[in-house]
Amino acid sequence: MELLALLTVLLLAHAVAYLAWQAVSRRRRACCYLLDYACHKPSDDRKVTTEMAGDVIERNKRLGLPEYRFLLKVIVNSGIGENTYCPRNVLQGREESPTHDDALEEMDDFFTDAVAGVLAKTGVRARDVDLVVLNVGSFSPAPSLVSRLVHRFGMREDVMAYNLSGMGCSAGLIAVDLARNVMLTRPRTTMALVVTSESCTPNWYVGTDKSMMLGNCLFRCGGAAALLTNDPAFRGRAKMELRCLVRANIGAHDDAHAAAVHREDADGRLGVSLSKALPKAAVRAFTENLQRLAPRILPARELARFVSRLLLRKLLLGPRNNSKAEGGGSSPKIDFKTGVDHFCLHPGGTAVIEAVRKSLGLTAHDVEPARMTLHRWGNTSASSLWYVLSYMEAKRRLKRGDRVLMVTFGSGFKCNSCYWEVTRDLADAGAWEDCIDEYPPETLVNPYMDKFGWLNDLQGQGSGFIF
């Protein structure tokens, strides 16, 4: 009967070993590495200066002098520089009648540059990609852009392709979230390609509604493609490791939901209307997100310190309402710099960056990448945070062990954040290569301030917007 006992023991040992191996391999697959990424640098013939933007605005005969002034004021104060990129149809004078092919051409330029670029940089073949997630906010043709990508690069038949659309400026992180979740369920390691862009071609607003004209001043062409993988074999080559991702959507509140709406104006022209309640919605979503993010990324010491100060303040002030506190000083702030070394903020506009800087208690050095990205590339919507990351890398700021926090805002209203750990010293300048030495520039003031500076002297010209 020893044989029987031996057999039983062997079988059990085999079963235990198999289950243990399953558990270990599941743990290993639970990591998510950023292998590499590439930011799209459109061709130079698409550069648009303030003067050129002024010409485009002037072409719109529907705009009267007040609107013209308003727009120029926004552009001059926007923090956007002279080297941002515009869609071809706008520069060629066809902003009123964009064609379907124009929009597809913009996407094809992006695919050829950024997607091919990231595949070439990493040596990953298109046939090795298991999962593609594409996000382009306001252009959704049939077949989908992700199918266009699959077609262009000849990906496999069993590739999992997802096409997200309409999810606003924070959708870049939603795409990463999707990729990460799908990777966790696959039995084998997965190579994921996450592609983010925005289509500016069909979205140049040609009407007279002020809330919709801001988009023309802020949004510029850009895009980014990133390769994520959960294969531990790539750990040595990976740039960063994903630690946690938090999404907050306060769309349940009506005013937050209506903060950024793509709709028709009174004359029936389409445009994205940014409401006056947008900054407030952004702050609310940001708070909601940080409340869930802080316990997951900050060291216990900082959390304990914050909680104890909060409790102390409550005790000292008694049962009175905290918002009426006068003598106790300002409400205790949680210091995110204890858990985060670099902040990748969505360059939505100078006011957004400033608001986030104030609420997180950051220095000018911390928000420099976001400000410089806004200056060099404008607000490229969901892909902008990859440009901000690229700036930090180009400036050699990212060292092994550093922790990076990406924060984005978008219509819905959403605030998404993502926490990475840098796995090796990074030094690739990427899309910033030809201009990183000029940054930060002496001054961010618009060179046309002299020409159009009189705009700032006009009082009460109806700009309640703080972009």
């Binding site: 009967m1 077949p143 989908s144 199918s147 997802y162 999810m167 959507n249 939901h257 709406v261 219509s411």
Partner: protein
């Protein structure tokens, strides 16, 4: 008419085939019977005394027994817990358009004549409608009833709100779902993708939680419903104890083609209003009332091939009107995509007997005789019900031929096309509702949903029914199921 000899020969062959299938599929059971019999005989021969001494000779004391029992229980538990979580379809609801949106043939033709002076265009659309397989009860959104249609974004949003909210309200009524309990939201709508997204619109209307994981898929065509199910399933694997709401729809308002290119006029004639809301869950307590369990989802993307990629293509015609062109090769490409999908799903669902036949025929073709025809597995052995995307009469005909299905198997698809038209990604759910409304869904039945879409994609989902569905089902078919099935003529004379 075959002669008696051939006929009796084919009958004998049928029995041989049946016998073979039974033998192979129940192989293990059949093997077990003689083994059990032999063991029982041996035991009887040994007698109780010898058995007792055999037992004692094992020298098992209490410690051994306890350790072994503990190990077995522990390993068993770990194994059971490490298996992928089952995904249950608790219930689903389909949008039923009001009668005021009905577009009978006469209305459609009158509209067409009033909108356009082009006689050729009118005659072409008449011919399509005659052969389309659609009935007189299909519906178009209010904006399309205007002359000419009014495809504004506001009207599109209005349609989206009506169809999506109605479907979700119906689902909430059926399941008692609380909006705060929704953890995952996946919305797919191919040709309308506003900002804020349709998923944000749902979050706003139903006041969903702020930590909801929402995804808005767009542009992915008529097969996107199954892509959403796949995504929801992946999310449910990662997040335990969660509910996922999947909303599949197609918004017709912004997509009316105003030009006269023939290949682009087809969608105007075929696409109709519809939406479906599906509640998926991985909570164990839902297993009791869930209707189906998701078994497999298989996706095939033929985009790498030029012809397949261009077969359903949105572009502008010479006059600048945007429309979706359907190429003449659509059927061939659909058949091709289906074959690719079958080769993946076949091994997962077909019984061993069919797989062996397929394998032997394949080996035979390669080694013995190249002229042997490839064996088409009999999918009727693997599934009781088929839900084929009601893309158009030609698609259903093609698939019926390729899969060798009987008219009864494709009845759900044909009747859905007749009653609701091509509602794009939600059509599969109308078909499932038809089968349930007919009282044909029994516990243990397996359903195969097949969707095709631009890209070119072919996606399949396999569901297993967990409880027999009783009629009436309070679904979109309830007021008209007694009239079905109807005979849909090849050509309806208009």
């Amino acid at each position: 008419m075959p002669t008696g000899g051939v006929f009796s020969g084919s009958v004998n062959l049928k029995y041989v085939k049946l016998g073979y299938q039974y033998l192979v599929n129940h192989f293990l059971t059949l093997l077990l019977v003689p083994v059990m019999a032999a063991t029982a005989l041996e035991l009887a021969r040994l007698g109780p005394g010898e058995l007792l001494s055999l037992w004692r000779s094992l020298e098992l004391d209490l410690v051994h027994i306890l350790c072994s029992a503990f190990l077995v229980v522990f390993v068993g538990t770990v194994y059971v817990m490490s298996r992928p979580r089952p995904v249950y379809l608790v219930d689903y609801a389909c949008y039923k358009p009001p009668a005021s949106c009905r577009v009978p043939f006469a209305t459609f033709m009158e509209h067409t004549r009033l909108i356009s002076d082009d006689d050729k265009r009118v005659r072409f659309q008449t011919r399509i409608l005659e052969r389309s397989g659609l009935g007189e009860d299909t519906c178009l959104p209010p904006a399309n009833h205007y002359i000419p249609p009014n495809p504004s974004m506001e009207a599109s949003r209005a349609e989206a709100q009506v169809v999506i909210f109605s479907a979700i309200d119906d689902l909430v009524r059926r399941t008692g779902l609380k909006p705060k309990d929704i953890d995952i939201l996946v919305v797919n709508c191919s040709l309308f993708s506003p900002t804020p997204s349709l998923s944000a619109m749902i979050i706003n209307k139903y006041k969903l939680r702020s930590n909801i994981r929402s995804f808005n898929l767009s542009g992915m065509g008529c097969s996107a419903g199954l892509i959403s199910i796949d995504l929801a399933r992946d999310m449910l694997q990662v997040h335990p104890n969660s509910n996922a709401l999947v909303v599949s729809t197609e918004i017709i308002t912004p997509n009316f083609y105003q030009g006269s290119r023939r290949d682009m006029l087809l969608p105007n004639c075929l696409f109709r209003m519809g939406a479906a809301a599906i509640l998926l869950s991985n909570r164990r307590r839902e297993a009791r009332r869930a209707k189906y369990r998701l078994v497999h989802v298989v996706r095939t993307h033929k985009g790498a091939d030029d012809r397949a990629y261009r077969c359903v293509y949105q572009e502008e015609d010479d006059q600048g009107f945007s429309g979706i062109s359907l190429s003449k090769e659509l059927m061939a490409i659909a058949g091709d995509a289906l074959k690719s999908n079958i080769t993946t799903i076949g091994p997962l669902v077909l019984p061993m007997s069919e797989q062996l036949l397929f394998f032997f025929r394949l080996v035979g073709r390669k080694l013995i005789n190249k002229t042997w025809k490839p064996y088409i597995p009999d999918f009727k052995l693997a599934f009781e019900h088929f839900c084929i995307h009601a893309g158009g009469r030609a698609v259903i005909d093609e698939l019926q031929k390729n899969l060798q299905l009987s008219p009864r198997h494709v009845e759900a698809s044909r009747m859905t096309l007749h009653r609701f038209g091509n509602t794009s990604s939600s059509s599969l759910w109308y078909e499932l509702a038809y089968i349930e409304a007919k009282g044909r869904m029994r516990r243990g039945d397996r359903v195969w949903q097949i969707g095709f879409g631009s890209g070119f994609k072919c996606n399949s989902a396999v569901w297993k029914c967990l409880r027999s569905i009783k009629t009436p089902t309070n679904g979109p078919w309830d007021d008209c199921i007694h009239r079905y099935p109807v005979d849909v003529p090849e050509v309806v004379k208009l």
